[in-house]
């Protein structure tokens, strides 16, 4: 398939209801950090953008939200064309300009504090990161606590950014500023809002 075809196909089959389904999964995941929400593949973006991350982008991004792509995604003209066609989102030049950042290779991503953190007056003006991970159960375990979690929650995403626990601790300290993370795995997603604290990390 050429780029033109690739960029046009693979959107939501039913834009209204698919967007609602994806949003409710993200909302439930954000409200209950560490809970894994199942999500069947509703969007079919060109690789290396995953179906889950693509669906999140389709349901939340539009021409009001500059999107930053990590180098692996930037290198793919078909990904940029697909996002451009289906969401109309402008591409952010720097991570600090982005409302959403989609990261296909989180293990080598830039530091969390390089993204927009919002301001003390408007902490909502921050970047929401969508990290593509292989799965949410076989990586190093993260023990979570904070709002949305009754006692503790456990999640074990693979391929997380370097020094993630330390970076996340710093993200916590910037509260109310800070970034929020959507972990997009094949067929499921989970969220780490800025209020979630990572208690310990088992080896």
């Amino acid at each position: 398939m050429d780029i033109a075809t690739q960029s046009i196909e693979g959107g939501f089959a039913d834009p209204v209801f698919n967007a609602q389904t994806v949003f409710r999964a993200v909302m439930d995941a954000m409200a209950r950090p560490g809970s894994v929400q199942a999500l069947s593949p509703l969007a079919h973006p060109p690789a290396p953008l995953s179906a889950t991350a693509g669906a999140v982008a389709l349901s939340l991004c539009d021409n009001d939200t500059p999107v930053w792509l990590d180098p692996r995604l930037q290198a793919e003209a078909s990904v940029k064309a697909w996002l451009g066609f289906h969401t109309g989102s402008p591409l952010a030049n720097t991570p600090a300009d982005a409302h959403f950042a989609i990261v296909a290779n989180p293990a080598e991503m830039a530091a969390l504090d390089g993204f927009s953190q919002g301001t003390q007056e408007y902490p909502d003006r921050s970047t929401t990161l969508v990290l593509l991970v292989d799965d949410l159960a076989s990586g190093p375990s993260l023990l979570l606590e904070g709002p949305g979690i009754e006692k503790t929650a456990m999640i074990a995403p693979t391929g997380m950014p370097r020094h993630f626990v330390e970076q996340w601790r710093q993200n916590n300290q910037r509260f109310p500023r800070g970034v929020d993370i959507v972990l997009a795995a094949p067929g499921s997603l989970a969220c780490l809002p800025r209020t979630t604290r990572i208690k310990t990390m088992e080896a």
Binding site: Q20, T21, F23, L60, Y122, D124, T128, P147, G148, P176
Partner: protein
């Protein structure tokens, strides 16, 4: 799937266009991530006046799906104008199932009450908020209140509560009683009676707040600390009633005074009509056996099975069944 091909003018599912929904959905996610912080959003004009729940309606319209079961309450009642019209609105524009049963609902839009029946993790409570800024009557300038939230400068609110004590001997605020969310933001719980404040604390349900005229959305995630402001020597306390509900004899619930005649006759009845009717229909239910109603929090031991919404053509009227008295 929900478009009615026979109708001439059809709306998008749930009335709002998709771009508006995305904008509201992004605001909801930020609100959840920053509990108690008021996220500005581009509130739309709705086919109802400001003050009739345009904020709550926009939030509900943005989260609702075809499988949801909607309950709408107005001051606890399912049968008042505001509740009936909003329920009819969503039945028409989203073709969703509606119910008056608290336990059967997945989304409960509320004006100024939290149901007496404990909420569960599969429910979302959507509040209609008239004035989202708890500091607004103390400081009219938005620039200043925003700075006060940024700096966590809430002394003025404590001064206000102190002045209550100096003047009345107690904290006289009875509704819209300010709360602190997760130890950071002071938040207006919307004009719910302070009786309902403890139910917000570590509620298993997600709580979303929409203020249409003031263009703000905020949220309290499940299991989040919501603490009513008070003083060590004047601790927060909720309203108490010296008599039970005149219809269902419930204690520890919020009661409304109903005037019966012009000779001073009056009675106190449950403000939560669904709770009252359920109790009268089945007084032996274990739901109210041995449990202090209104204590808030706490999910049901067994989550309700798939809801079979009671689709009543005519919503129950307040006082229905009163003849039995």
């Amino acid at each position: 799937m929900n478009a009615q091909p026979t109708e001439i003018a059809t709306y998008n599912f749930a009335y709002l266009d998709e771009q508006t929904k995305r904008m509201i959905r992004r605001a909801i996610l930020k609100g959840i991530a920053i509990p108690g912080y008021q996220v500005p959003f581009a509130s739309r004009e709705m086919p109802m006046p400001y003050g009739w729940g345009t904020g709550g309606v926009q939030v509900t319209a943005s989260i609702i799906g075809p499988d949801d079961v909607l309950k709408v309450i107005d001051q606890g009642a399912d049968d008042t104008t505001n509740a009936v019209s909003i329920r009819a609105f969503f039945k028409k524009v989203a073709n969703v199932a509606v119910t008056t049963e608290t336990a059967a609902a997945t989304i409960i839009q509320t004006r100024h009450r939290i149901p007496e029946h404990p909420l569960t993790a599969r429910q979302v409570l959507v509040f209609q908020v008239p004035i989202p800024e708890p500091l607004r009557f103390l400081e009219p300038r938005e620039t200043e209140t925003r700075k006060m939230h940024a700096l966590e400068e809430y002394g003025l609110m404590h001064v206000k509560l102190y002045e209550d004590i100096a003047r009345h001997g107690r904290i006289a605020t009875t509704y819209a009683y300010p709360v602190k969310v997760e130890g950071r933001y002071v938040m207006d719980p919307s004009p719910t009676p302070k009786f309902d404040n403890p139910k917000m604390h570590r509620s298993p349900a997600l709580q979303l707040f929409g203020a249409g005229r003031e263009k703000r959305i905020y949220a309290v995630p499940p299991f989040t600390d919501v603490v009513s402001l008070d003083f060590e020597d004047h601790p927060f306390e909720v309203q108490t009633f010296d008599q039970p509900c005149a219809l269902c004899a419930a204690e520890n619930v919020y009661l409304d005074e109903v005037i019966l005649d012009d000779h001073g006759g009056h009675m106190f009845v449950c403000s939560d009509t669904d709770h009252c009717e359920k109790r009268r229909a089945d007084p032996t239910s274990p739901l109210w056996g041995g449990r202090a109603e209104g204590a808030g929090g706490g999910s049901l031991a067994t989550p309700p099975t798939t809801p079979t919404p009671a689709l009543r053509a005519d919503p129950p009227r307040k006082g229905e069944g009163k003849e039995a008295e």
